[in-house]
Symmetry: C2
Subunit: 221 residues, 2 copies
DNA sequence: CAAGAGAGTTACCGGTCAGTATCATACCAT
DNA sequence: ATGGTATGATACTGACCGGTAACTCTCTTG
């Protein structure tokens, strides 16, 4: 193997060893302004899992990067596998919080909901640091069918699919399930292609693709 | 970690330890009918990488599963990373061989070429043992940007995208690049969704999705 | 002030990782 | 028969893996 990404990343999430500024001492080991060890570990793990991959990041690396030790990790999480599952659970929560906020802004207009969702997606896949969907990526990496993260992943995707069907029904599509699946494929495709063809790849046409597909489906009804 | 899939798989690619049949001894260690160690290693690695993931499969497991030893692996391949790259290179070759054969059957009809391509894809994602696209999966797992497999992956996907643009141009689409990207997104989406929502997921609508998209694009011109 | 909780530190466990060295064996073509 | 080539077998290296034990420190709360 070339290198298992154990080198330190450049920017830290929570600076703790920052040089003292104008006489006042920097954040001490225990400080009200400093996030808890659990929080630092969780944030660091989330970032590293996403950017480097789950299997490529060891618990030792996570702890060091969070400026703590492995012991604090295992005091707060039962295992690496559970930490991974926890990370994905939080991603799911954040996802739906964003989604619901967006949906509430256009509560009477399903078409605008879809448009807004794809605008968000388009913005995400335009970020050169983005590396697709954490859920889908985790599904690729974690092939053990009884891994605790798998049910999180499957539930997340199933819920998204159902939500799309609901919106497509509200839009009055003749075959809401078909349109929903088509939109789902576009979403997933956009996320995965950023990892092979980058931000200038097919992903940048995902919003237009969705629009054409919706028009085609509504015209048919 | 739950388990790093080092247990033996049930079915062997090349049976070597098969019980003797009607008095004649089974395949011996060296036998004209027996594939070379290199071939057995390559075939086994290809299967395991695809089914269990690259990082989840160790060289020791590959060797054992191929009924040989690590030494034979390293006599035939410079490293695991190169073995991975080699696997993907062969996948690329097979892919284009199949594609070209299909294209030649409909050399004057780009529309039928696309239809045939999506029929093949639909058949693949209907296989419950399938686990998406090896190239895309490898891109998820191998985050080191200088991994020898990465250039294979990027070249493969870029070539596919270009090929789609070419066919869409021949079809007379007003915006062949747009349509090509749309089809690309559907293809990639179908592959990746089989790993989260299975064969009954959105992937089963990929062919219809492609048809509608093409119709919509051609109608617009 | 006392007690307890959260956190840091260090050392360690057994196992697996990719990769190598060495020697023995079996086959094939000459 | 012989010599080269592919293969097998075993043992090993050093690094890293996930996970644990035991002890100290420090801050907060009563």
């Amino acid at each position: 193997m070339i290198l298992t990404g154990n080198s330190l990343v450049n920017e830290r999430l929570h600076m703790t060893r920052s040089p003292r500024i104008n006489g006042r001492s920097p954040l001490r080991k225990r400080d009200a302004n400093r996030p808890s060890a659990r929080q630092r570990i969780f944030d660091t793990a989330s970032e590293l899992f996403y950017l480097k991959g789950i299997r490529a990041v060891g618990v030792e690396t996570i702890a060091a990067e969070a400026d703590t030790t492995k012991m604090s990790l295992y005091r707060n999480f039962p295992s690496k596998d559970e930490l991974v599952a926890e990370w994905l659970r939080e991603h799911d929560a954040n996802f739906w919080q964003t989604w619901d906020a967006m949906a509430n802004r256009h509560s009477k207009d399903p078409r605008r909901q879809i448009k807004a969702a794809f605008a968000l997606l388009a913005k995400h896949v335009a970020d050169p640091k983005a590396r697709g969907c954490p859920m889908a990526n985790a599904a690729v990496e974690l092939t053990e069918k009884d891994h605790p993260a798998r049910k999180v992943i499957e539930a997340h995707k199933a819920k998204l699919r159902a939500r799309l069907v609901q919106i497509c029904t509200q839009m009055g599509a003749r075959e809401p399930r078909l349109l929903a699946d088509q939109l789902f494929l576009l979403m997933e495709g956009a996320q995965v292609t950023t990892q092979t063809l980058g931000v200038r790849g097919p992903a940048r046409n995902v919003a237009r693709a969705a629009k054409m597909l919706i028009d085609a489906n509504l015209r048919a009804s």
